[in-house]
Symmetry: C3
Subunit: 320 residues, 3 copies
């Protein structure tokens, strides 16, 4: 199986050095390398962050310039940590960490695995209760992460400074890409602020793709964002090489419906129908996958016209 951590993609997407990271040592923590079932421990915090949706200050399609004051806001996001939340895990998003960025860490597992998500509320910004609610996996009601008065347990309302461990199982119907998100009292506000992320669960004998991209469509302060970023040059630049097996993990959060489109590529539905555009609404998610054979710089975007105009568009670069 080829590397799941291609440096090219990581470098361009995150612009941070990866030199200090010893990749092999992380394999056991970050994702399944083999098909043997495992119990995977993941440490997540809800932490304050200052987020700029348009760091280059440009809407290049419309020739508009945007100052940081119009694009930067404080928020609370899911961040991945080392064991016992000792320190933030600084890794590319695709490797299962996000270093305090909008859109929580990509959590990876395999059918048969157990997941122990150790969640700590570090919200010193709004000081709200938070939670994690996971789609696609099996769990008991105590790990549902919802809050309702007189009904919910601690996992649905983790107060600032407190922690909770969600116990999840990737069952036979869990293969796929799934969202997770805050489902506590303040969920309307916190989801709008970026408290969501994705679970990528491989089938028991599935060979992982060479590349996995996450595309999370959500509005943010009037922008239409992909992983919290708006406009070409700010949104993620996904990279691949001809011959690689690439997987797009797509989800949406909020109130709106979107249509995911990639230029110059097609895929098939489970029923066998070719597609190059697929609609999805809030909390819907899917993965599409192909063997790359089309070199060039392509666009991927939401095809709702005003969403594209408000930032939901990015580059996909395929090298020979």
């Amino acid at each position: 199986m080829r590397s799941v951590l291609p440096t090219g993609r990581g470098r361009r997407h995150f612009r941070r050095g990866l030199a200090a990271i010893v990749l092999p040592a992380l394999a056991a923590v970050l994702g399944p390398g083999t098909a043997s079932a495992a119990t995977r421990h993941v440490w997540v915090g809800a932490a304050p962050a200052t987020w700029n949706a348009v760091p280059n200050g440009r809407d290049v399609l419309h020739g508009t310039r945007l100052g940081p004051g119009a694009t930067t806001f404080p928020t609370v996001v899911y961040r991945r940590y080392t064991r016992n939340w000792r320190k933030p895990l600084r890794l590319p998003y695709e490797a299962g960490a996000n270093a305090g960025r909008f859109t929580g860490p990509l959590i990876r597992a395999r059918v048969g695995d157990k997941l122990r998500i150790h969640f700590k509320n570090m919200d010193t910004l709004r000081r709200d209760a938070h939670s994690m609610h996971f789609h696609g996996v099996e769990y008991k009601p105590s790990s549902d992460g919802i809050w309702l008065p007189l009904f919910s347990g601690k996992g649905g309302r983790v107060k600032p400074g407190e922690s909770f461990t969600y116990r999840l199982t990737a069952g036979p119907d869990s293969a796929g890409f799934w969202p997770y998100h805050d489902h506590s009292v303040s969920m309307d506000e916190s989801i709008a602020g970026g408290m969501f992320g994705g679970l990528s669960i491989a089938g028991r004998d599935e060979v992982r793709a060479d590349r996995e991209y996450v595309v999370a469509f959500a509005p943010w302060h009037g922008f239409q964002t992909i992983n919290g970023r708006a406009f070409v040059g700010n949104t993620p630049v996904f990279e691949a090489r001809v011959g690689e097996d690439v997987q797009w993990n797509v989800m949406a959060m909020g109130d709106e419906f979107h249509t995911f489109h990639v230029h110059g590529h097609r895929w098939r539905t489970a029923g066998g129908t070719p597609e190059d555009t697929r609609g999805l609404g809030p909390a819907e998610s899917f993965r599409v996958r192909w063997r790359e054979d089309a070199p060039g710089t392509w666009l991927y975007h939401c095809h709702v016209e005003t969403h594209m105009a408000q930032g939901m568009i990015g580059f996909y670069r395929v090298r020979r």
Copy 2:
């Protein structure tokens, strides 16, 4: 085959005594018990009703109280009657009657059956013409239930005090859950007021589920309702036991798109892809079904965030 009228669910959903109902005698009227084709007669009226979308006066998620003046309005709904509209059929909704409630009676049939829907317009509130238009079944244009000037027959414009019989056939492509609704002159107003319901058509040799739930998403006077009710504690509480075969019949009416989600459960698409959230728009409908194995109290809801906040959320209780 197990009972299709579990008292637990009926009791909680409708809060009415079922003591007077002799269930076996109703089997021939209400739905197919065996696979032999039949002609099924159903008597429906469009009748005035006063409907309270939030009878307990609470939006418990946001801690808001709502007086009945803000949640109760007169409207016209489809109601199921005994033969020749002699008297309203007082039965749980799932059994094929709704006793004058928002969301018309669940009409059940099997592929191969003929349906004779005897419709009477009893609208003494607005005194509008009304009709019934059915999805999923076969019929001649005279039973289409639409109204257009210089074009439509009587079935598309049944005047107050008049009646019409729609002649339908459950054909080979009719298995599934389908909406029906007013398609007469006043359809914009009457659909907004609740003049819609569902048809549940089993395949010729299909074993019926033990439980069938109807989830009809529609706006009503500023609320986002499920079967005309808004907020947990008002929306239907669906009940099941571990080991039962449960079927969710989901539809939407109006202008908006929704995403149906059930906590702690997954199902598969016809193509085999696992899901726990599915989008649908006006007049789209589907059914999902599983063998229950997850005890607990769960939420089901539309995952569009503002819809959930405006009431589109309810409880699903699974007992051991």
Copy 3:
């Protein structure tokens, strides 16, 4: 194989004489009659047009009259031409031309074919740059038809008076119905003005349907239109005979989501589930097909209620 150019449908849809058209001579130009791969040349211009969305001046459902001043506007549309853009091709839309009408020509091909789309910008109305971006087919980035500063080639920004040839291939995943549209600088405005159309690509050994209808849902100046027309009597009247094999090619452009419904008919998804209503968003497209067996005059429409009320509804006439 039966004719793909039934005169009945052409006559009603376009109200223009077809007497002068020698159909057999056009077969080689307009579409594949056999399964041998070919290179197909299509000549398209972006040309000014004056378009009336409601030529009969009536919203017959609501009894409203609309003067031409409220329904007619200048715009720019894709028009099909003879070789070297010598003159507009005057043919029924279904035959691959549209004579300057809203919704560009239906371009037909077969898996294995190459397409050479010769595009000329004749926009003397707004004098904007334009392009053509095609879904569903294979092409190199130079034929992608998108415009981004410092990035795109000539094909993404064809200036008034200039031309460009897009080189496309109908590959193994190209069978289906697909949109094409302007993706140049002015795309928001030009798509809203009608610069979109459809590609119908048959499988390599697929027998073409007897009838192919195009249903393009898009807003236009406050109307909700099908192929640029609003309200019954203005929207296309699709015609068939009992026994014919009919195919509906459905697409949407703009910002909104729709649900396509045909009265009195059902079809199956690729996974085998019966349907009579299917949702789609911007740039999503699909085709459904059946052997006609239901004589009568039926409605087809978008089932979003306000869309239907604002014009997205038409007739489908099936004769014995």
